[in-house]
């Protein structure tokens, strides 16, 4: 029972990571931009969701606001800044997007203040359902897993079975060639970026009632998201899915099983501190191990 519950928790965390990582990995794979500001769009989404839901009382309207807010902010940032970074080296990209993070954090503080908002939720949201005989699980988390699943399937359809997806794949392979064939590559880039931002908005909306909506929430999860895409193979959506599942499961199962295991092996004082440290660092340990064996990640986009 504990195992099943932890697996579901792991799935929920994986869903959050996948929503963020799929956009990030597309942006990197196609435009070659390391976007540290990706977490900022997630934060913008969460704030939009929380404040719209508080003002209107409608949960779903909050979701709509999150998607729209993140996408719009993404459009502004892409047009103003990211567009100029496509041909720059990684160092410039890291710093320019870091500057966007600084700016966005302060902007949000200025607009909404420092006190974290509480997102109102409808009654059914807090309820529990019996997933399996004897296993009650909150609807909120199931919804999260569902959203992740939906996006994964949607992305697969979009990328493999539509004309836009074909262009995205082609753009990742050789963007000059695609441009030469008469595709407006700049518009494709903008579209992909805004799409990634909208996914961040979705993640922000799903996370807003579950996690605390605060300044810096983006950075916390962003670094883990980077770990996910590096583990999975930069630029590959399949890799992002595999990486998200791996990191999510290691985190959730580790939380359940590492502390008791260490308690048996070591004296209580050291084991408590050690397991806390190990768990916080688990994603990084996984990444270091994966990169040592496969320096390009588990499922790299191009051979």
């Amino acid at each position: 029972m504990l195992l099943l519950e932890q697996l579901l928790n792991g799935l929920q965390y994986s869903a959050l990571l996948f929503l963020l990582a799929s956009g990030l990995t597309l942006i990197f794979g196609i435009m070659g931009v390391i976007n540290l500001a990706h977490g900022a769009f997630y934060m913008v989404g969460a704030f939009c969701a929380a404040y719209t839901a508080m003002a209107s009382g409608s949960f779903w309207l909050g979701g709509l606001a999150a998607l729209a807010g993140s996408a719009l902010y993404g459009l502004v940032i892409e047009t103003a800044i990211i567009r100029r970074l496509y041909n720059r080296d990684h160092l410039d990209q890291v710093l320019a997007t870091l500057a966007v993070v600084f700016f966005t954090n302060e902007l949000i503080t200025l607009l909404f203040g420092r006190s974290p908002p509480a997102m109102p939720t409808p009654e059914w949201y807090g309820a529990f359902v019996e997933v399996l005989p004897g296993l009650m699980y909150p609807v909120s988390r199931l919804l999260f897993i569902g959203a992740g699943l939906l996006v994964a399937v949607g992305m697969w359809l979009l990328i493999n079975h539509t004309r836009l997806g074909m262009l995205i794949r082609a753009g990742a392979d050789d963007h000059e060639m695609v441009g030469a064939l008469g595709v407006n590559i700049g518009r494709l880039y903008t579209l992909v970026f805004v799409f990634g931002c909208a996914l961040c908005g979705l993640a922000g909306f799903m996370a807003a009632p579950l996690l605390s909506v605060e300044i810096g929430m983006g950075e916390k999860v962003l670094i883990t998201t980077f770990v996910v895409i590096v583990v999975g193979g930069v630029g590959s959506v399949r890799g992002a899915l595999v990486g998200a599942l791996l990191i999510g499961m290691v985190d959730s199962l580790g939380r359940a099983y590492v502390p008791p295991l260490l308690d048996q092996l070591l004296p209580a004082e050291t084991s408590g501190a050690l397991s806390a440290g190990l768990l916080s660092a688990s994603a990084y340990i996984v990444m270091a191990l994966v990169l040592l064996v496969r320096p390009r990640g588990l499922l790299p986009a191009r051979a």
Binding site: L85, F102, V234, E269, I285, L291
Partner: protein, 341 residues
């Protein structure tokens, strides 16, 4: 006198005369600000060794800063609490503690560098980040040493002949170490070792075909840069009398990178000026508003997007003998892209 020497001397004179100026203006706060500046300048210059000369964009440089500080903090903690550390009763002498801290940093650099250098490009950026985050979380989980709250130190380390608790003496020590570090780095990048490193930056393939092993040189550079940041961390622990895991957080690594870019990549002295600009702006803007990052973010953005050469490049602009100056300032030619078959 070439422009470069003038800039060197101007910086040196500013640093040397600052305590006098502070005493004249009756602003002892200035000495404290410039101590911070010298310490961060050292860390930023060491990162420049990697980014500017080795093309190794390390996003985990704060790990060394944090580790250096923590070794000083932990030894001080045990010494103050009269709690032997594996049978060693601890010491407050800088001559013992500082080399110990540097040794730890060198070991970390060796392990972290060896593993990270198996990757390149984005993966290198990310794996260095991963290692520094690991250290960050490990330091944060040391509940015995205060966990996330860190360690408060009772006093600065003692150095024979100097009183480090005196603000001016400590300041001059930091400046002397900074100057020594910069001179050492300049010698280093001008040496055969430095040329190999820069050759690897321009074209790894050509350098390898000359019969050189890249990892050996890069690893050495990684460890040396780590030592520089570690020394800065040691000084910081002594300056602030406080260490916390935040010293190794990724934001700190980002700050160091921002300083390098602001000052000018691959110039060594530039990052020190970058650190000055960063800390100075932080100070000025935060006097004006607590939301200082709102103004700083766009400013950093402008520098990244439009000011490729940084502050040092601005100062060097139109130097009287550009060809000689360029050859000396060790900036590699811009269009050194290798043609791939």
């Amino acid at each position: 006198m070439s422009r470069r020497i003038i800039i060197d001397l101007a910086c040196l004179a500013t640093f040397a005369l600052l305590p006098l100026l502070a005493a004249l203006l009756d602003e002892p706060f200035l000495v404290s600000l410039f101590t911070r500046l010298a310490i961060y300048g050292m860390a930023a210059a060491s990162l420049d060794l990697l980014i500017g000369y080795g093309a190794l964009v390390s996003f985990g440089h704060a790990a060394f800063f944090g580790l250096g500080g923590y070794v000083v903090g932990i030894v001080a903690f045990h010494t103050a609490q009269l709690m032997p550390l594996w049978g060693w009763e601890g010491s407050n002498s800088a001559l013992i503690v500082w080399p110990l801290a540097l040794l730890c940093c060198a070991l970390l650099g060796l392990v972290m560098g060896y593993l990270s250098l198996r990757t390149s490009g984005v993966q290198f950026i990310m794996i260095t980040l991963a290692f520094s985050q690991m250290l960050y979380f490990i330091l944060g989980s040391l509940s015995f040493y205060g966990g996330d709250d860190g360690i408060l130190l009772n006093e600065r380390n003692s150095l024979p002949g100097l009183d480090l608790n005196d603000a001016n003496q400590f300041y001059y020590l930091c400046v002397a170490l900074l100057v020594g570090w910069l001179l050492f780095c300049r010698r280093l990048v001008g040496s055969r070792f430095g040329f190999v490193l820069r050759g690897l930056k321009q074209s790894e393939r050509r350098t390898v075909s000359l019969g050189l092993q890249p990892v050996r040189y890069r690893l050495t550079a990684f460890v040396i840069a780590g030592l520089g940041a570690g020394l800065a961390g040691i000084l910081w622990a002594n300056y602030a009398l406080f260490v916390s895991p935040d010293m190794a957080a990724w934001q700190k690594s980002g700050e160091l990178m921002a300083m390098v870019i602001l000052g000018g990549v691959g110039t060594l002295l530039g990052p020190v000026l970058g650190a000055a600009a960063y800390l100075g702006l932080e100070q000025l803007l935060s006097l004006w508003t607590e939301h200082w990052l709102l103004a700083f973010g766009p400013l950093l953005l402008l520098v990244v997007l439009f000011g490729r050469q940084g502050i040092y490049g601005l100062l060097m602009k139109g130097a009287d003998k550009p060809r000689r100056a360029r050859a000396r300032s060790a900036l590699p030619p811009l269009a050194a892209q290798e043609v791939r078959p």
